[in-house]
Symmetry: D2
Subunit: 286 residues, 4 copies
Amino acid sequence: MRRTHRFFIKSNLRYHVDADAWFLFNIAASQTPVQRLFNERLSNNQGLDFREDKAPDGVTRFHALSAPAGPLEVMYEVEVERDELDCSVVPPATEATLVSLPSVAARFLYPSRYCESDKLVRFANMEFGQFAPGHERVMGICNWIFNHIVYLPGTTDSSTSAFDCATLRAGVCRDFAHLGIAFCRALGIPARYASGYAFLLQPPDYHAFFEVWLEGAWWYYDATRLAPQHGFIRVGSGHDAADTSVATMSATAQFVSMEISVEARSMDRVEYAEGPVTFFPQAPAK
Amino acid sequence: MRRTHRFFIKSNLRYHVDADAWFLFNIAASQTPVQRLFNERLSNNQGLDFREDKAPDGVTRFHALSAPAGPLEVMYEVEVERDELDCSVVPPATEATLVSLPSVAARFLYPSRYCESDKLVRFANMEFGQFAPGHERVMGICNWIFNHIVYLPGTTDSSTSAFDCATLRAGVCRDFAHLGIAFCRALGIPARYASGYAFLLQPPDYHAFFEVWLEGAWWYYDATRLAPQHGFIRVGSGHDAADTSVATMSATAQFVSMEISVEARSMDRVEYAEGPVTFFPQAPAK
Amino acid sequence: MRRTHRFFIKSNLRYHVDADAWFLFNIAASQTPVQRLFNERLSNNQGLDFREDKAPDGVTRFHALSAPAGPLEVMYEVEVERDELDCSVVPPATEATLVSLPSVAARFLYPSRYCESDKLVRFANMEFGQFAPGHERVMGICNWIFNHIVYLPGTTDSSTSAFDCATLRAGVCRDFAHLGIAFCRALGIPARYASGYAFLLQPPDYHAFFEVWLEGAWWYYDATRLAPQHGFIRVGSGHDAADTSVATMSATAQFVSMEISVEARSMDRVEYAEGPVTFFPQAPAK
Amino acid sequence: MRRTHRFFIKSNLRYHVDADAWFLFNIAASQTPVQRLFNERLSNNQGLDFREDKAPDGVTRFHALSAPAGPLEVMYEVEVERDELDCSVVPPATEATLVSLPSVAARFLYPSRYCESDKLVRFANMEFGQFAPGHERVMGICNWIFNHIVYLPGTTDSSTSAFDCATLRAGVCRDFAHLGIAFCRALGIPARYASGYAFLLQPPDYHAFFEVWLEGAWWYYDATRLAPQHGFIRVGSGHDAADTSVATMSATAQFVSMEISVEARSMDRVEYAEGPVTFFPQAPAK
């Protein structure tokens, strides 16, 4: 029987609303075979109703809200029971050919707002063309990103793309994910953006990583090495940060502050290895 | 009873394949309530099998092909019976709020590879903010594009985006559609890219236009004014040209030439009005 | 005899130097026939020597400084006697042809880092091609900028160019100048960036405007309408903000704060007209 | 006594002029201490007068021309006696500090249209920061460019910049030079663009390389390795291709074709080493 861990997540988002505003939140954990939710609670300080909607992947949930002027606070809490990674399972050393790709994966082959894979084809082939297919090639991509991009908050903004980041050589988790996705797609490997919570991430924040389609399943990779992937709680996935951001909202609302905490329940004896985190990909969330 | 027209479409695409290559074609007309297909035939000069796949919209079809070295020719033929436009139906003068948008429309609110709506928010509000909501605002967008962008083949390429085109002030149908989409999204109106065949388009070619979500349905708009919309035959829709292009293929294949013809059957007495084409949007294809 | 005004300028720039750093300041007023300097004093809190150098225009002065770790404060003071504008002189209604341009002007025809005039040719011809040549056309450019670009600190940064700003539709004085320059060059009219101090600018700050070559002389224009041009004190000119910025420095130094004041001496009875500032260009500084 | 070589250069440029057009040519070889001109002849098929102008560097010459509608052909011929490279002279292993830079060099520290050094600072420091200063660092830059950028005509166009090329990973001599310049400036080393003719370049064409300021003199470098630098004949220098292009002209003129030949006079016994060309920089042209 597989061991599981139980995480307790709290997220608090505060906004100032100048005039009637709408919000679309992407903060609720996904319910998947390896990640089960308990005691989930989404609320706000004004008693407003959320409308829940699911993305085409059937798992990612959005919560829409319409709020009047005034301070808005959105509180989310959930307990997540999550299967431990089976590190003996290594992702495949093969890549699907386009001809055999199902459309659910094929639609993540195309360039998107922040992942202009069409402009990175030569770069990706030069740097990663000589790797063995599949897992090794994607690890080569992750290592290149880790070694060439400085993790440096404040250097990029909401308009920075993978193409920019490849040369600016600095960014945050969002940029690391965009680069990984763009390189994969440039090599004909479907890849998508994933957002989530991460245990032991310092400072606590929303996290972004990416998922790669290898032989019939999505495997996830994180080039930042900022938190152990045993503690990733998946929220949503999409083409890139454009459709997977924490919140999309009217211009009449301003972000004020946020607090996030991800705690592990003590009875689960979560024993994360010391030293450098290993980054084997995990079994797919879906 | 609604009048219909019958169109006979032929498309011939020729490639040179240097070494084993894969292709993903997006050239087959959609089967929709207003557009019915007869005698469809997709073939190639090498007797290779196509694999058909449908996009998440359930209507757009892709055809994958794996081809060996040598010349490749892909032939497509179909007869399409298409309902005449009911020009007495005018698209709504309202726009859905994000809170009420179904996810099928909401996912076309976000910026994409060629439609960086996040960078056009101020521009769109300045130029189109004063229009009445819905149809009038979208017509305002179409008119601005028609009046400010020169239709000029050769001025843009496969990496040109709406942001570029807004300042370069020239482009082709693809660019006109990208701009329309980007402006709509920047104003909080879902919009998507649509590809198709167009009767009377000169020279005959694939055409691109865009679809806008107004009060529960997609309406289509074309800022190019190059062909009467009574003769549009819809192939596919997507975020932008990135996932709706005619063909995506390996680097080992080169496009050589193509021929397209769209003819109307004489017994249908298609009587297109003379003079400037009117651009009332059409009832949604789906 | 022409009336003159006397301005008293003070500038205080503070930096924190982490390790040995170099600086290149462009803050000293130009000595020109219409702008005469008195009691100039450039100093710093560490008693370091400045090395003065002149730009190829023979007027713009740079001051280089090498500073050790620690706080650095650079103080500049000067009295400037400046001829009053002769508003009866209107800039020419003609534009020089390239063939007759001296190289001193011709070198400001080319695109530069922040003024990609090569990408704005169609835009400029569409919007300003119908104006009368010379002064009217340049005024048309200034008016377009004023009416389409929102003056909004914080919307652009040091990498924003004229091409970006044309679509982002917001910026500061630097961006307004870049756009003016780019449009002029796109139309074959030499234009350069000018930096300076400006009386009555609120809040007090360095200011940027642009200079246009019309029939043998440089005339200056300011599309921001933020301060009366009767009170402009010219510091330097160059291709764009890249070579005309207030300070260029090592990565080991950080800007901390600054204070600027521009005062008019009371005995000069400076009587600026009330109401909307008129923006007639001034006789050339050189 | 230094050995010299004598080169015979011919350039033929053909344009079609639709309506009165102006041209600014930058095709005449520079007269410098190491490069002496004989029997120079600049003419055109219409007997039109050229107006010669010199750039601020006192060496680069421009030739302006005004031409009526019709075919235009511009012929240039010159014999150039050029000192042989003294390969025992190696460029300095030191870099000037900004504080000691004369303005003639300092103005080539700033980013320009095609060399956005401001956006390549982190990249340049990561890749070249560990090299010894001066010649070794610049050679490190040249080697990186040669090893990472594919020389591939047709992949870039007149709007491609160093920032683009760093990620697109392909380009022509112009792009190689832009990258070299941008990396140098990003590291605080003045660098400028140089155009010229090159003996043994295949196919014969105008060539571009770059010049770097090291300890009081300009040294030239070429990352393309396409032709032996013993056979470079310098035409002009500038910030980048924006102000150093072969010809700037009205929109009413179109380039048709060109022919270039660079021949060595037999009596000079030009004995270029076999094998891979060595790329020691040459003594400065000025």
